[in-house]
Amino acid sequence: MEKYKVVVIGGGPAGLAAALESFKILDDKKVLIIERDKFLGGILNQCIHPGFGLHYFKEELTGPEYAHRFVEQVVENRIEYLTETHVIDITPEKEIVAVNKKGLKRIKADAIVLAMGCRERTRGAIITPGTRPAGIFTAGQAQRLINIEGYRIGKKAVIVGSGDIGLIMARRLTLEGIEVKAVVEIMPYSTGLRRNIVQCLDDFGIPLLLSHKVVKIHGKYRVEGVTIAKVDSQLQEIPATERFIECDTVLFSVGLIPENELSKKAGIVLDIKTGGPVVDNTFSTSQKGIFACGNVLHVHDLVDNVTLEAQIAGRYAAIYSQHPELFENNIHVNIVAKEGIRYVVPQKLNKNFVQPFVLRFRVDNFYKDAIVTVSNAGKVLVEYKKSILTPGEMESIEISQKILSQLDFSNDIVVSLQNI
């Protein structure tokens, strides 16, 4: 059986950054990246729009450009990687089974970094009634077919979901000569960034229909249209508000789900809210020596944050592979999401590694003028005010050395939100 210090599963931005970081630390450089696609780079390869890297590189790159900077370093450093290789199993003992056209490989890792990314929610997952003709796509499918394979997927489209991906695809389809009739959003607000609403919809005159949903898909062989309706505050259809929109394409961009089928196989505890593993501030999962980062951990809006998080996971994975004893007798302080906060990552602070870290979280609703606080044993450690908070935008707070020094380790760290 082949042996590595650190094996990274997934060659997207998370996997690449983690592998590079592990590689820097390890003397024997035994790091391996396994990627099922033909190329390294992950989902970024199909995101040909600009908007990546503003925070990390302080310049605006396209997805492939952003990924390329990391792929280049991987290649320059001769970090080992396998493409077109699918990991089908991992065990708590950190044995990996991967398969490709040459055969089935068993690999023993001292530490594993999970970086498998996420998959898209579908029309079926949100239970959209109607017929099941051709012409129904997820945003990611459409992106791949249009941007990588070079095909047009229809003439007139309706987009369901107004997160950043839905918005960006509205612009992309328009640039490809596909008429976007509307972006339909069930919530009373868009979860996309303000600048994307302006640059992707307003600039092209594409209507955004908030508090609306697709109540029926029509068409026998190819989509012929959709019926949309207004919804009330309970997201229930309001009678007599139905309207037919003629189109041959429906694009669903209704959320992403971390891809944790492998994590389950290794018996890793998952957080129901994030859909990803429960981790501590070393990005260690509940299985010792298995770390997680990127969209497999929780869905990110910005790849820059993925990179930062992955570097930490990669670093601790390398440390674990050399000094597993440092991770013995782990004692954790729980970090819990309370009022107004949907989830926090990491969910725990490891007492063996009390070091500054960034707490990332999402709020559970749309808020105007609110204060977010981090408290412990009834004492407020940090707080900050914000005029607008939405579930679509990931928030973060730095947990500095100063804050850590005030901690009462026998009590939870609590993150919550109050309206002013």
Binding site: R36, E84, H86, I88, V97, V99, N100, K101, K102, G103, L104, R119, E120, T122, R123, G124, A125, I127, P129, G130, T131, R132, P133, A134, G135, T138, G140, Q141, R144, L145, I146, E149, G150, Y151, R152, I153, G154, K155, E176, V215, K216, I217, H218, K220, Y221, R222, E237, D248, E261, K264
Partner: protein, 479 residues
């Protein structure tokens, strides 16, 4: 050019394919005409997949006879054709005294129909054996010989085996005119092709009434009756291990909750008469009804686990029994119509019955070369690692995973194409690529690519299920 056959079947559903395959046991020149581009495009792909025990149909009906006969031979057929079949047993659950009385009636009817092993079980037994069911259940009828299968794969398997044994099948042949020319029927398609045949068997599902009329045979009416379903993601642990029915009403067998042979959970169907025979849409109302009723039996159901919804259309005849007979006035025209539930269970028994009738009518000899066996495509998902290694050595494409949710390899897709799949749905039904939790989000572009390469046609010509179900509309640049 016209082709001449001894026997021709209209409709490549499970009934048509069963008959076709059974006919190849005889030295007959047989053919099937199907309007779509693949088999199992009608009711046979969208049903509850239950091999019913046979306590439901009224005694003395054709439904009762073929159901019980079908159930008896189902395991053997699935074994010969390498199709999944699990005899998981079923429960009809009762919530009150009235419903307990119905269980008693079903038990008696089942006994009269010749169903073995039926028993009424106590509340305690139910909770011990199916601990996730509602605590409001008072008793249940247990039928140990009820089973689950894969209806569209069985249809595909029957088709492959029939072709292996010499049958012909003509796709995209929509029968629109039937004439008589001496001893032969001349059967015309909508696009002006025709074939000649001595015996014509009508297995056109919801359209069987119209085909009978075209042949100048008996007039009857088929009412389309739709049923809607949910498919749930593969759970870590099955919430039910048997098929759970509610007490039947005049509308049918009611909403059931059942495991599928692939490890998903199936919920449905409701029952509604509709106007359009092709209207397989799901509706909010129908889906809501199904979910509420299923929750009554299995309170832990969650919509979060739904991966897709679909509906199927039952071909309900006006006399409420299967119509399986040679026409009184049109010799050699045989109706196999109104085959609603338990049509899947009955299909193979019906096939045998018809093949015997027709072969003796035509004095056909046995086909000594008939081979009843067909092997399924080797599944990456199902093999051990050692077997996988061996397969990859022989076929490197076995190591290329195309569908990540169901772990379907490129080899399986190539094999499905060799065996006749031409569309995305054809690949899906034969391999499960695209049936997993991401519903083709990952593999659709890859499957399009493989189909285009193997069939040597442009990607824009690849369809979901034939006709105008194109997926890509225009090529923008060369890859």
């Amino acid at each position: 050019m016209s082709r001449i056959y001894d026997v021709t079947v209209i409709g490549a559903g499970i009934v048509g394919m069963s008959i076709l395959r059974e006919l190849t046991r005889y030295r007959l020149n047989v053919c099937c005409l199907e309007k779509m581009e693949d088999v199992a495009e009608g009711a046979s792909k969208a049903n509850s997949a239950i091999v019913h025990a046979g306590y439901d149909p009224i005694e003395g009906t054709k439904k009762a006879r073929f159901n019980v006969e079908g159930n008896n031979i189902f395991a053997d057929i699935c074994n010969e054709l390498d199709v999944e079949y699990k005899m998981v047993g079923s429960l009809v659950v009762a919530f009150d005294d009235y419903e307990i009385n119905v269980l008693e009636e079903l038990l008696q009817r089942g006994k009269r129909n010749g169903v073995k092993g039926l028993e009424i079980k106590s509340q305690e037994w139910v909770f011990e054996n199916e601990p996730n069911l509602s605590r409001n259940i008072k008793a249940a009828l247990f039928a140990p010989y009820s089973g689950i299968t894969n209806p569209y794969k069985l249809t595909v398997a029957l088709f492959e085996n029939a072709v292996q044994n010499g049958a012909d099948i003509i796709f995209s042949f929509e029968v629109c005119k039937i004439e008589k020319d001496g001893d032969y029927f001349v059967v015309h398609s909508a696009d002006s092709r025709f074939i000649k045949t001595r015996v014509l068997i009508n297995c056109a599902g919801v359209y069987a009434d119209e085909i009978s009329k075209l042949a100048g045979a008996k007039l009857f009416k088929i009412y389309p009756r739709r049923g809607q379903y949910y498919i749930l993601d593969k759970p870590d642990k099955m919430p039910v291990t048997r098929v759970i029915f509610q007490v039947p009403t005049e509308k049918g067998k009611g909403i059931l909750v059942a495991p599928t042979v692939d490890g998903n959970v199936l919920i449905g169907p409701n029952s509604e008469y509709i106007d359009d025979k092709d209207d397989t849409a799901t509706t909010q109302k129908g889906l809501d009804e199904v979910f509420e009723k299923a929750k009554k039996v299995l309170p832990s159901l969650s919509k979060r686990d739904v991966i897709t919804t679909f509906s199927g259309i039952r071909a309900t005849p006006d006399n409420h029994d299967f119509i399986i007979e040679e026409d009184e006035n049109v010799e050699n025209f045989i109706n196999v119509a109104g085959i609603e539930s338990p049509g899947l269970t009955s299909s193979v028994a019906i096939g045998r019955y018809i093949a015997e009738k027709v072969s003796s009518k035509l004095n056909a000899k046995r086909n000594l070369n008939f081979n009843p066996y067909r092997e399924d495509i080797k599944r990456f998902l199902k093999l051990s690692d050692e077997e996988r290694v061996r397969m990859i050595k022989l076929y490197p494409s076995f190591g290329n995973i195309v569908c990540r949710c169901e772990l379907v390899s490129e080899y399986e897709i190539l094999e499905a194409i060799k065996r006749g799949a031409r569309t995305i749905d054809g690949i899906k039904r034969r391999t499960r690529a695209g049936m997993g939790r991401c519903q083709g989000g990952f593999c659709l572009p890859r499957v399009i690519g493989i189909l285009s390469r193997e069939l040597k046609i442009d990607k824009t010509k690849i369809t979901k299920f034939g006709k105008n179900s194109y997926i890509l509309t225009e090529k923008r640049w060369e890859e």
